[in-house]
């Protein structure tokens, strides 16, 4: 690039306030993005990161109305006068959830969607589409249905659709959120490769520690719509509050030495292996007769006193497995017992008295006009009396710290609050076993840690089971880890036994984190797995 060439992206004094809000979402943002650069944009939920991306890609003001001021220059040209089609050829955007971005029913159609909109001839579309798939090493998916591919593959397909339009700037909005650790690592390496080929990349991500592995040239940290830090990685890890974003364990340990020891005592009862709460006996499952088998020969016993983390790659069968326990799915072969009763003989409503199951997305279940009514729904269905319902609702709302929102419509709350309401609505049923599917998905670091702390310290559960992609979550909160790989249980045991073989971890598409490594180093001294803040207290 010649010295005089304009920069890919220059933002000057940018502010925006949504029409329906009373406060601005972003204030006085000024940035420059250079070719070949990865810029990490970090910050807690609601700090304005997504709004900034929308301003750059033109969705603001084309689709979202409000008060906009300041300038955005894309290769020296203001985007204010550009059509979305023009912007989309220079700025590609990958949204957080590929499921929400993919439009085509087949991979090649999805990749060529933007090219169809540009009116390119068919041969040119195929050439460019195949080149984008090849670039991401997924040409073999060309003729597959988009619905049937895994989460990681969906993310790559969505990216191929963006790359096919040959943008020079790439905006990535939490692209790792739905990916298993290995897919996330692959995606990050790919972003690095694209930047090294000259693309300018702005990456919004909560998983800061993961992003640091690809050494972003610039890091921007935002709070309440403003830039609080703008510099390099070294600067960020020293300046930013490590409670708010996830930094490498060594950094946290160094900085937390002077802090008081975190107080965390899980409330689950002592382990009782006399009678299993849930038992899987040679369970096989397929969704319909002509579909491939999703679970193969699952044998499993879950006892009181266990906090179980279920790990596994995208599409490994984690959700399918836990749904069997509640009877939402019934085994094609084999048996599942809930407190000694086979689930075939139980209705889901009856099983719900024992198992409280929190779905991944709160919007799939929230419906009531107030939070109070939402929380009463489950206990009412189970036939509890009015007094018990009132007590349970009060206990559940206090547990998730949303007492002030009892009369608020749940759908008017933020995503994080909705998630807490969805959990409270299951807590109010006072089930003995709590099962959570990706409980921390879509929440920032501070919120999800606080949330998991409070759940684990809640009395009343005999056992807690959670599905997660976050290895550190399993490390800190579980006392048993189950790893699923292609529908089979490939590991089941304590952290120390399951996670000590790095080669196996990689095979299972998990990735060893800095916290895991530090815990193994310190295990002779600690004898257990701890969070970084707790490890800091034990260092000499």
């Amino acid at each position: 690039m010649a010295e005089t060439d304009p920069l890919p992206l220059v933002i000057r004094d940018l502010s925006f306030q949504y029409r329906s809000r009373t406060e601005p979402a972003i204030v006085d943002i000024s940035l420059e993005l250079h070719p070949g650069e990865v810029m990490l944009l970090a910050g807690s939920s609601g700090c304005g990161k997504t709004t900034l991306l929308r301003c750059i890609n033109g969705l603001i003001p084309h689709s979202y109305r409000g008060k906009l001021s300041g300038d955005i220059l894309i290769f020296g040209q203001s985007n204010a006068g550009m059509k979305l089609a023009e912007i989309s050829q220079k700025v590609g955007t990958l949204l957080q959830d590929p499921e929400r971005q993919i439009l085509g029913s087949y991979v090649l159609n999805e990749v060529c969607f933007g090219l169809e909109n540009l009116g390119l001839p068919r041969e040119e579309m195929i050439r460019r589409g195949e080149a984008a798939l090849e670039r991401l090493h997924i040409l073999h998916l060309r003729d597959k249905e988009t619905f049937g591919i895994s989460g990681g593959e969906k993310q790559k397909v969505a990216l191929a659709g963006v790359l096919a339009m040959q943008p020079k700037i790439l905006l990535l909005d939490e692209p790792l959120a739905s990916l298993d650790p290995a897919s996330a690592r692959e995606a990050l390496l790919l972003f690095r490769e694209l930047a090294d080929q000259g693309m300018a990349i702005m990456l919004v991500e909560h998983r800061v520690e993961d992003v640091l592995t690809i050494e972003p040239e610039r890091v921007v940290y935002m709070e309440a719509g403003r830039i609080c830090f703008h510099g390099d990685i070294q600067g960020l890890v020293q300046v930013v509050d490590y409670h708010k974003i996830k930094l490498p364990a060594q950094v946290v340990v160094e900085r937390a030495k002077s802090e008081p020891q975190p107080n965390f005592e899980p409330a689950v009862p002592q382990l009782d292996t006399s009678k299993p709460l849930i038992e899987f006996q040679q369970v096989h499952f397929r969704y319909h007769d002509d579909a491939p088998e999703v679970l193969h020969n699952i044998n499993l016993k879950i006892h009181a006193g266990e906090v179980i983390a279920i790990l596994g790659h995208n599409g490994s069968g984690k959700t399918t497995l836990v749904k069997q326990a509640l009877g939402l799915l019934k085994p094609t072969k084999g048996k599942v017992f809930l407190e000694g009763v086979e689930t075939q003989a139980l209705t889901v409503a009856k099983a719900a008295r024992t198992i409280g199951y929190v779905f991944q997305s709160p919007s799939q279940m929230l419906f009531a006009p107030t939070v109070k009514e939402e929380l009463s729904f489950g206990p009412k269905n189970l036939g509890f009396d009015q007094e018990t319902i009132a007590q349970n609702v009060q206990w559940a709302i206090e547990t998730v710290h949303l007492e002030d929102e009892l009369l608020t419509p749940p759908l008017a709350l933020s995503f994080g609050q909705q998630k807490r309401v969805s959990i409270a609505s299951v807590l109010s049923m006072r089930s003995r076993i709590l099962m959570m599917d990706e409980p921390t998905a879509g929440q920032d670091y501070w919120n999800y840690q606080a949330f998991m702390d409070s759940i684990l310290q809640m009395p009343g559960f005999d056992s807690i089971i959670f599905i997660t992609h976050d290895l550190d979550l399993a490390l800190i909160y579980a006392n048993r880890i189950i790893v699923l790989f292609d529908g089979e249980i490939v590991a089941d045991g304590k952290q120390f036994d399951v996670l000590q073989d790095k080669q196996k971890i990689n095979q299972w598409r998990l990735v060893a984190t800095s916290l895991l490594e530090l815990n193994f180093q310190m295990y002779p001294k600690t004898g257990k797995f701890l969070r970084a803040e707790a490890l800091a207290q034990l260092l000499d």
Partner: protein
């Protein structure tokens, strides 16, 4: 995420007919079948539809959910509307007529007088022929037509590009809605909600469906916003678009198009020019009740 209908390639004769020819045939059939109440025409159309349906090589197992809906509609339309209340026959079946049971019939020792006429009964049979014929044409489409072809087909048939693509999305919205409904149903069942337990009158039942309907509706609204964003971000609707899916007529497509032309022109001429499409009850049917 928008999902598609459960299409699969079967290498059936239907797989080798251009989607445009198929849509044209189906609409020609629809117009021809709705332009007449003459049983001979309807029977002919029914046989044509049956042959057409067989070209798809679908199985009952694949299509049964669609057929259940059609049979439910037929039951409501024919048994309740035409046979019991006589409402559906208004304007086609002349008033009066010959009673099927002029002296009533015996039910548990009591004589019941039910005013069903032979004409209304024949009209119900004609309705069955017509609805099944039309259904056979359209039920086949999602199972045997490549989901990639919809937009390109509509555009090629003269629909504006924007409308053609949004129609494709609208068609795919139906199975997506069904999928979301199933997820929400599971989420609410996990909270002890059972659909079978819903009791009370119709309004009470609708009210108690709120735990299902509200999340499904809200998700539909939110996902339509996401879809709009995803389309905008890739330049949708900014100019003339091209289509990746390639459409090409072959010899058999011209046969189908020719037959469609005969069907629609023949049907309309017979009904509106030659006035042969009126409702008539054949003598053999009267003889059955003599």
């Amino acid at each position: 995420m928008l999902v598609s209908w459960r299409y699969k390639y079967r290498n059936s004769p239907m797989d080798h007919i251009d989607p445009r020819a198929r849509w044209i045939f189906s609409f020609a059939f629809l117009i021809a079948a709705t332009s007449t109440w003459n049983w001979m025409f309807l029977l002919t159309y029914f046989i044509i539809a049956l042959i057409w349906y067989r070209l798809g090589n679908t199985t009952w197992k694949e299509t049964r959910s669609g057929w259940r809906l059609v049979l439910f509609m037929l039951f409501m339309m024919i048994v309740i509307n035409t046979i019991i209340t006589g409402g559906g026959a208004g304007g086609v079946v002349p008033p009066g007529g010959q009673l099927v049971w002029p002296n009533g019939f015996n039910l548990f020792g009591k004589t019941v007088h039910f005013g069903l006429t032979i004409e209304r009964l024949w009209f119900a049979i004609c309705q069955i022929l017509r609805v099944l014929g039309i259904s056979m044409n359209f039920i086949l489409i999602p199972y045997t037509m490549d989901a990639r072809s919809y937009g390109a087909t509509f555009s090629s048939l003269g629909m504006p590009d924007k409308l053609a693509y949004t129609t494709e999305l609208a068609i795919r919205f139906i199975p997506s809605l069904a999928r979301n409904f199933s997820v929400t149903m599971d989420a609410q069942r996990a909270r002890g909600f059972e659909l079978d337990d819903i009791k009370g009158g119709i309004f009470s039942k609708i009210g108690r469906m709120a735990p299902l309907m509200i999340p499904v509706t809200m998700n539909a609204i939110l996902s339509s916003e996401d879809i709009a964003d995803a389309m905008d971000l890739r330049g949708f609707g900014q100019g003339k678009r091209t289509w990746l899916y390639e459409l090409r007529y072959h010899r058999w497509d011209y046969v189908v198009l020719g037959f469609s032309a005969i069907l629609i022109i023949g049907g309309l001429v017979a009904s509106y020019v030659l006035h042969l499409g009126g409702f008539v009850v054949p003598q053999f049917f009267y003889n059955l009740f003599a």
